[in-house]
Symmetry: C2
Subunit: 512 residues, 2 copies
């Protein structure tokens, strides 16, 4: 069904197994140290290394990446590429177009969009000119793009880094710099059809990634707000109480109730009324049940939300994913801009898995409807309804890392197909001519950057790097117009005509 | 030879031709405006749109991207993807591994690495904690990575955005946020072998991109510094005079001489001596000529550089690219960290091209050797010699945009293969079931997000979007267990059994 889906499970697992290895060097061969040569210069002229000021040659500070960020090693880059390929190919399967926006936006663009989290935005220093902030997500820039370019309809995906000054809990796969993969549908369509497609996409991606069973919680901002209203929450407290509710996946109801009453000043009886609702979750039958709820049905907004959820479940049944989705009144989602349906996907663990390698990574995909955001950027307030989703790829990387910790299979981080070797001294130029033929034919090829490497060193390099084929050229071969082609695995060598080299290699590579 | 090389020229030109079109909407179909629905709510409860504060609904500032930055439309993203694919596949063909580093670094990491350009670094606001700056290139972070992880040898590539607060000259394809594609070889190897491979890579990429003829200027920091020394430039003025020399591709020698004498206080006779050298360019014969130069050969450093250049030209001949490269004493390169060979590739225009669409985009690829940079990050000053290159992909995008301005061929920005249509009312659920079969089989499919779209609207959508196949389902087809499959181009329709649908579509797609 998907690119990764086509890989045998074992190959996929094997590919991922390298994740936790430390970054390692890739090239071998060393003879002359250029820097030593430079240092030993007999200086009859000024020491001409002004570009390397002596006092700068040793740093007087700790060399590290900024707090909450990290380098990705070649192994990690490889795994990330495979995961992103799968995600993007799903977005494209659903007809999405790619978009790219700058890493930073005018500070005003991001202001008052993220509720309690606004303090986590990275600002740039005022160096004269505009006040700028690093983007906090890909949704607000997308809405800004739609308004700025007057785009009324668009199915788009975007993959990119975003930045949040959170207290880093790296152990849970959370970073201050992380990658987001977003898919959104902007435009006025018939109700819940794009919303259902977003849930279908989440299912396709999580199935394709083979992360095990998962579950999607669905609710609606209008139902939550309606519930707050009929329970007696003052409107000014809606977002604050919503934030407390949002913690129910990490805290017990008792703790959340305490926070609402003691810290946020909610009347205890109001909290208890809310408690009756937020502990409910189920399928479409819970939607039906809520339609009968004498209190909730006093809210016209809640009724609207319930009506849409009913329709949504009908569509999810046609998409074959209804059993993956439940209506969950405890789902709140922190961001200010949601206006309708909201959802969040979490991975499920079997009891055995939870015992062996307990996962606590929060949601791996989430999103919702935000019909008002684009209008906030339009000079005339024209609205463009939107619904979308974001895949938590960093958390998925983390889960894969955890899962693969025990596996030790070797995965290649280079794609080299052929190595050019010689048993002869002073054969560098011949190796260069030969490898040029290969490169120019599109064949992935390497040789050692040494004048006179030993044959054994060259063959060991191939074994270590997993390069399948070796081309060997020496004086004798040159004279006879042939080349030796060696299979690293079987150690078999055959002589072939020099002019057939590229064709023969391409034949072998296509067979393997 | 390369992915794009395999594309027929026409397809490649066609692909690029869309670059200059404005972003356009992608989805059709509209019935109910959800936002209007919301506005018309009969409010028996508080207006529950607190997440959209009324005073925020219309922005009181101009909606734009920050100065010197831009959004990339789907067409531009598509072209960028193709260009980056070609570049990265060349890097991989040469055995490089991928690496990723954070968008920002500790401010100290970037300090005193970029000479006169250091003022162009974007700093982040001090929000408590570390002082951070956005990366200015990918080279310094790579050197920091090598030192921090104690990597002594590595062939790596990295693609990513970098940021520079330059006065934007967008007309020339220069932005404050732009993408870099870097390839570097770190480690101690025999002289000039990795350096020659870098030049080979530049040639492969520029050939693969079919941008027309090009030329690579080569020099060496040691030759330049030696030349300055023997001409009588005080050592304290080396970098400043180097910066003036660097402008010789945009200014005449007379203007550069004036700058050096009047602004930088160089003695006129010293300037004239420099003038004799920097106006020289040629092939390996110029290297030989300089070996006979009585003044230049007084510098041991210059002799070292000339010796390496001679070796380099020998290797370039074996790689078949010597005729693309010239020794050019006017090449200076602005960055502080270079210590040896430096190079810069420029596109050449035929006289006719220069008249029709004069290009002024500076270099499209550049790089050099920097043997001291990693040592600046190592606590003990241990050096790791490095050489690398950067492809100026933004400039390449710009050139492609200019070249394609006149072409008007249509290029698809989505990859949708099949459209699911119905002539019937109330057939949404059946369309959903059918499209689910396609998606789950990995087929790229779309349908309109409307309850009852007209058949003509659906077929027009396919024609507009370039979708080749339509699956049509109606009451009659459902009853008979068949499906109609329509070719959009030929308008031919055939009836096929429902259960053969996926196989039949896959067969057709593999044939086309």
């Amino acid at each position: 069904m998907s690119q990764l889906g086509l890989l045998p499970r074992r190959a996929w697992a094997s590919l991922l197994s390298q994740l936790l290895r430390p970054p390692c060097a890739s090239c071998t061969g060393t003879v002359r140290c250029r820097s030593q040569d430079q240092e030993s210069l007999q200086v009859a002229e000024p020491v001409l290394t002004s570009q390397l000021k002596p006092h700068q040659e040793k740093p007087n500070f700790i060399i590290k990446t900024p707090k909450g960020t990290r380098d990705l090693s070649p192994q990690q880059v490889l795994v990330r590429e495979k995961i992103l390929d799968l995600v993007v190919s799903c977005f494209k399967r659903h007809g999405a177009k790619g978009l790219d926006t700058p890493a930073f936006e005018l500070k005003e663009i991001l202001t008052e969009k993220y509720g309690e989290d606004s303090g986590l935005i990275y600002d740039l220093k005022d160096q004269g000119g505009e006040l700028l902030s690093l983007r906090y997500d890909l949704t607000v820039p997308f809405a800004r793009y739609l308004a700025m370019h007057k785009v009324k309809k668009m199915k788009r995906y975007q993959v990119g880094k975003v930045w949040r000054r959170e207290s880093p809990a790296i152990v849970q796969g959370r970073y201050r710099e992380f990658c987001q993969c977003d898919f959104d549908i902007a435009g006025q369509f018939d109700p819940m059809i794009p919303d259902a497609e977003c849930l279908k996409i989440i299912c396709e991606i999580l199935n394709g990634l083979q992360l095990g069973d998962f579950h999607i919680k669905v609710s609606d901002r209008r139902i939550m707000d309606g519930m707050f209203a009929v329970c007696g929450v003052p409107e000014s407290k809606f977002r604050a109480i919503g934030s407390s509710i949002d913690k129910l996946d990490k805290m017990s109801w008792k703790e959340v109730r305490h926070e609402m009453v003691a810290k946020k000043g909610l009347a205890p009886e109001v909290a208890d009324r809310i408690g009756e609702y937020v502990q409910c979750h189920g399928g479409v039958s819970l939607v039906e049940q809520m339609f009968q709820d004498p209190r909730l049905t006093q809210s016209k907004q809640a009724l609207e939300g319930l009506g849409d959820l009913k329709l949504l479940f009908e569509y999810l049944t046609s998409f074959g994913i209804a059993e993956k989705v439940s209506f969950d009144l405890s789902l709140a989602r922190g961001l200010d801009y949601y206006t309708g349906v909201i959802y969040e996907a979490v991975l499920l663990q079997t009891p055995a898995q939870a015992r062996d390698e307990p996962l606590n990574v929060g949601s791996v995909a989430a999103g919702g409807r935000y019909d008002g955001l684009v209008g906030m950027f339009d000079p005339k307030g024209h609205k463009v309804p939107c619904v979308g989703l974001s895949i938590g790829v960093e958390r998925i990387f983390y889960i894969v890392e955890q899962r693969m910790k025990t596996s030790g299979e070797k995965v290649r981080t280079t794609e080299t197909q052929v190595f050019v070797a010689t048993p002869q001294k002073n054969f560098l130029l011949e190796r260069m001519k030969l490898i040029t033929e290969l490169w120019d034919a599109g064949i992935k090829a390497e040789m050692l950057c040494k004048n006179n490497p030993k044959l054994l060193t060259q063959l060991h390099y191939c074994e270590n790097m997993g390069i399948p084929l070796v081309v060997i050229i020496g004086e004798q071969e040159l004279k006879e117009g042939i080349i030796k082609l060696r299979s690293v695995a079987s150690r078999e060598e055959v002589a072939i005509k020099r002019e057939n080299l590229v064709v023969e290699i391409q034949k072998r590579l296509s067979e393997s």
